[in-house]
């Protein structure tokens, strides 16, 4: 399928200061296009969660935003490792590797990946010790 828009955003390892920058740029790009607000909101929520995961749990990586001719918005989050040992567990709502302290602060509810899946129209995840890739698709045209 022909791509009518292609962008990529780099997420640096441990760069907490700029956490959320890629999702902000994606959000502002989609606003400039004028994407349907309901779809845009789902994309914003998924992109933010996935980007933060790359910083907290992985060693940074690249986010790709592709829009194809058939009115699909694709987001790919490709991180540099260390990978998720048990994908099934990671996809279980409530399951989390976060420390007790992080949970007390309101993080690590174990809803990250399940939420991303819930708001996307298509969701695929692949993981190996070399890195994790999440492929998300959102349908724009009704």
């Amino acid at each position: 399928m022909n791509k009518i828009l292609q962008k990529e955003f780099h997420v640096e390892r441990d760069d907490y200061a700029n956490a959320g920058m890629a999702s902000s740029q994606i959000k502002s790009t989609l606003k400039q296009v004028g994407v349907d607000p309901k779809v845009m909101r789902r994309i914003a929520v998924a992109a933010y969660e996935a980007e933060i995961n790359m910083i907290i749990h992985a060693w940074g990586g690249v986010v790709y935003l592709d829009v194809t001719e058939d009115g699909m918005i694709h987001l790919i989050f490709q991180d540099c490792g260390p990978g998720i040992p048990d994908l099934e567990k990671a996809m279980t709502p409530g399951w989390s590797t976060a420390s007790k302290k992080a949970r007390e602060l309101g993080f690590g509810a174990g809803m990250g990946l399940p939420n991303i899946k819930r708001v996307s129209d298509e969701f695929t995840i692949e993981s190996s010790p070399a890195g994790t890739s999440i492929f998300l698709t959102f349908r724009v045209e009704e």
Binding site: L5, G34, P37, M40, R41, A44, G71
Partner: protein, 400 residues
Amino acid sequence: MNRKSAVTYTLSRCVKCLKCVKACPTSALTMEKSRIHVNQERCINCGQCIRACHSRGLIAQGSTLDDIASYDYTVCMLPSSLSSSCASIEEAEEMFYAIKSLGFDEVIDLSPLEGQLMEETWRIASEMEEGGGIASFCPVVNRLVETTYPMLMEHMIPLNYPSEIMARQIRKRPNGDKIGIFLFCECESKLTLAKYPYGGQHYETDHAVALVDIFPKIKKNMKKGNLDVTLCREGLQSCNPAVMMQRPDYLIADGYDKINSILNMEEFGLLDTFKLLYLFPCFNGCIGGHLLWGNSYLNRNNIDELTGKRRLPVTDLPLEDLYGTVINERKDGRSFKEKMQYFNRVNEVLEHLPGYDCSACGMQTCRIMAEEIAKGRKNVSDCRVLAAIKGGSDDNSTAD
């Protein structure tokens, strides 16, 4: 829907400094052929351009009191933010008398209704299932969400403006259609909630008056008598963020930058733990409205004094009277494919522009300029920076 901006431009005063163009948060202002144009669809009536203008070339002017003469019976509605500027209940009684003496048959204090709306806002928000609600009392916030944060539209609390709810109640009276309904306004954006002067044809309020314009007349009538006044505490609180802070489920914020940061975060769903976002673009909330004359830092402490001895309960209007649409989804009718084609065309043009966002061409940013070029209304040659660079290199070539 036809919209009219509250911003009025006076060409003879304009010194073409472009301060207003640069100050606009929604890129609504442009300078073309040496005069300022306000894009009605983009303008959110926040008044930032008015405050950026040092030569009074931009103002928000309300209706005049001359209009009172066109009606047999007139009613004037006063917002809580105005009452809050009185240091004591005695001063409020004098002020209400002074305002009635301007020629009104009746003065209506909006504080009990504003109080009911605040309580109803809270009730609706606490029952919302996903995420928090956004309070709908401020026309600037509503327009901002509409133009800039459309994904938060579903979070808007569906309550109408207090002035509009009250105006509808007044219209229901016998001969209500003959009553002239006036609203005294503490900020530019509220001037648009009436038929005059800014064409809000779907509102029941007839005239909106800017409080600063009539302040000298009110002052002249002060200390000449008093009108019985009893205010509603909840109403006064509803326009004063400083006294609402203690509620842990509210996220209350004032100031334009802060509310933008909040709306940006909420788009990612990061503030869902709050039940209600109560946002005031003006510093110190509505009591800091720019058409008030008082000192809002002092005035925010007046509530106890004003409602200590006696106070009114909130109104108990039927709920259906409170609801209303304050926000409209914007549909431009283009398909996604057309939107993408236009977006790509704008980006192609943008690559040729310098990207300084200097506004010298009259457009706020290079992106706005690129949009104008993509629409065929401007040419790349209208960019002054490119023209200067080109001119410079020509000079060099002659020197060679």
